[in-house]
């Protein structure tokens, strides 16, 4: 995945390259290998030892392509291409479901941040239906097929569980 840090020019390419077990991983950043040990992790932050040095990161409000972090005590903004929305899309009913399935389900639990359609609207497969916030990430839920919105089962500010029906598309 590609990363860019706001205010500095360089871009970074990074990924996990090996799982050593016991919460230890090898990650590769711009072809350099680093060892990382995760001490503690949840959706709000992470504590880890990177190449023998302890760090903590807090995750603030993030969207799919922008991440706001506090690294140790320093706030940073990262831009990245995660393709997370594609993964969500792929899992939202577009895959494995026949074209006759009308329910669009949420693949993540989250809070409804915005709804992009109204009942009666016609949508194409891949169109944005709503945006959910989960673990401080904003994630788009996209139409799993082309049709029109028969009903919307969510409201702004409400929460949805995994597999809850977001809308019906006919």
């Amino acid at each position: 995945m590609d990363y860019k840090i706001k205010d500095i020019e360089k871009t970074f390419d990074g990924a996990i390259s090996e799982n050593l077990g016991n919460n230890e991983y090898v990650i590769k950043i711009n072809d350099m290998e680093h060892q990382i040990k995760i001490l503690k992790m949840d959706s709000r932050g992470i504590e880890f030892i990177l190449d023998q040095k302890y760090h903590r990161a807090k995750y603030l409000e993030n969207s799919i392509n922008e991440m706001n972090l506090i690294i140790d005590n320093l706030p940073l903004t990262l831009n990245m291409h995660t393709r997370l929305d594609e993964i969500v899309f792929k899992n939202s009913g577009s895959k494995g479901s026949s074209d006759t399935q009308i329910t669009l389900k949420s693949q993540i639990p989250g809070k409804v941040v915005s709804i992009a359609v109204q009942e009666g609207d016609s949508v194409k497969q891949g169109d944005l239906v709503c945006t959910l916030e989960s673990m401080k990430m904003q994630v788009a839920v996209k139409a799993h097929k082309t049709g029109f919105i028969k009903s919307i089962k969510i409201k702004i500010g409400g929460t949805v569980a995994k597999n809850d029906i977001v809308a019906e598309i006919e």
Binding site: D7, K10, F12, I16, A57, M80, L84
Partner: protein
């Protein structure tokens, strides 16, 4: 003897006063506004009384309500802290009339100190040098010209009704003075309907140096050394230190004697501060007396070993000063950084809101007076000072490096702070060499250097940030993906 003190203040200074009272076995009464239900001063006082709405005028400045609370709580004394009612001579007078021991100077002395013109003439009488200029208001432009030529240009023309940069003009010669006189007059008249102008020597490359003074009710007075407070923004102090890098023992004693004279001249009692401008030629000019405990008193406590709040209470109790000038010895070096909730890059605009997480620095010879705790809120209703971070060292370098460490350890989530600015300042050669002036920030292009420093820090942290982002993305994906999906991330992070 004072047995129960109402503290007519909030934030770190209320906590500071509570701390000493507790150690002395004196009961404390906190007051709080709607905004301060969950503030630490409410939690740490012996008693706490709600006094009104968030706006200071409706609570911390509400004289009647505070007097009422003193009487109903049975407090026998009041500590005003700084700001709010601390230099309000009307309020001090009301306390006197109600036989409430006001921990500070008498209302008469406070009033005299508050009137800059009267105070200046009292100083001139006592032979304490003030900034050269007209002894009082100038009647007309001719008088102004005479004085300007006497004290030599550049001079400032100031309307006594001005303030905040308005009704003030810098002039370099007779021609500019004639023009400026008219402008200042008309500006002042258009703003407040009247004009009254004074002429003052314009001092360049000045330092702000002040002296802690203490005078008891029996007329004994001492100074407790100087503090240099030259590093400022918009005429507000940011970093203070003691000793001043340019005050040697001879100067300390010489100006200190003037300070004692100044305290006699206004019949000052309790603790106060005499402020001076020090010109580049080494001359000291008295500017004003702050008739209260100063924000920056902890650095004086560090080098004197004194508890200044205890000293205030002892003096208020009528006790004589427990030491003479010669007993006071300066020990080591201390620095204070005022940790403000403000955005350095946005003209120091206040930054307020919830503070979900805080780490307060500590360690040998580190002292942090603060109202912050995880989960607290920085209120837009009150001033931006969140914490006073002070360090001491046997040498200046020791206090400086301790301060840098403490600044690095200080973490305040949720609001912008002046911490990064101070790290940049403390690392400059100019600061290390003691080249301090009141225009330090502009003179040395500090804001630009701060930007560079922050960029450098971001570059240093970039790989760590990328690592954290990678782990987060994988973690997030692992939550989003169907459990039946056999993607590669699963083998990576599970």
């Amino acid at each position: 003897m004072i047995e129960k003190v109402l503290i007519a203040n909030r934030g770190e200074i209320a906590l500071r006063v509570i701390k000493t009272c507790k150690a002395l076995g004196i009961k404390t009464v906190a007051v709080y506004s709607d905004e301060d239900y969950n503030s630490l001063h409410v939690k740490q006082a012996t008693e706490a009384y709600h006094i009104g709405e968030a706006a200071p005028a409706k609570s911390y400045l509400n004289q009647e309500k505070i007097l009422e609370t003193i009487l109903s709580s049975g407090a026998d004394a009041i500590h005003p802290g700084y700001g709010f009612l601390s230099e309000n001579s009307d309020f001090a007078n009301k306390c006197e009339k109600n036989k409430i021991n006001f921990i500070g100077p008498s209302s008469a002395s406070m009033e005299l100190c508050g009137d800059k013109m009267q105070c200046k003439s009292a100083m001139l009488k006592a032979k304490v040098p003030t900034v050269p200029g007209s002894p009082g208001l100038v009647k007309n432009v001719e008088e102004a010209l005479n004085i300007a030529n006497d004290i030599s240009y550049p001079v400032l023309l100031k309307s006594v009704f001005g303030g905040g940069g308005r009704g003030i003009r810098l002039v370099n010669n007779d021609k500019e003075l004639r023009e400026g006189f008219e402008t200042v007059t008309s500006e002042s008249i258009s703003a407040v309907g009247k004009s009254a102008i004074i002429v003052e020597k314009f001092l360049q490359k000045t330092r702000h140096i002040e002296y802690q003074m203490a005078r008891d009710k029996h007329g004994n007075a001492v100074h407790i050394f100087e503090r240099e407070c030259s590093i400022q923004r918009r005429n507000q102090k940011l970093i203070e230190q003691t000793p001043s890098p340019i005050v040697d023992q001879e100067t300390r004693d010489r100006i200190g004697e003037l300070v004692v004279k100044a305290s006699h001249a206004v019949d000052y009692t309790n603790l106060g501060t005499a402020e001076f401008l020090r010109a580049d030629n080494g001359e000291f000019y008295f500017i004003e007396i702050n008739a209260r405990l100063q924000v920056e008193h902890p650095i004086t406590e560090f080098v004197s070993g004194l508890d200044l709040v205890k000293l205030q209470i002892d003096i208020a109790n009528g006790e004589p000063l427990p030491f003479k000038q010669k007993d006071l010895k300066m020990n080591g070096y201390a620095i204070e950084c005022r940790i403000n909730a403000e955005d350095t890059f946005f003209d120091f605009a206040p930054s307020t809101g919830p503070v979900p997480d805080v780490t307060i620095p500590s360690g040998p010879s580190v002292r942090c007076d603060t109202y912050l705790y995880p989960g607290c809120t920085v209120s837009p209703f009150y001033d931006s000072l969140m914490a006073k971070l002070c360090t001491w060292g046997q040498t200046f370098e020791e206090s400086r490096t301790r301060m840098l460490n403490a600044l690095n350890d200080f973490y305040i989530q949720g609001v912008e702070t002046s911490i990064p600015l101070y790290k940049t300042i403390l690392n400059t050669e100019e600061y290390k060499n003691g080249q301090l002036t009141t225009d330090f920030l502009n003179r040395y292009g500090i804001i630009d250097r701060l930007k560079e420093d922050l960029k450098k820090e971001k570059i240093e942290k970039s790989e760590t940030a990328i690592a954290a982002a990678i782990i987060y993305s994988e973690y997030f994906k692992s939550r989003v993906q169907n459990t039946s999906d056999n993607s590669s991330w699963k083998n990576k992070l599970s």
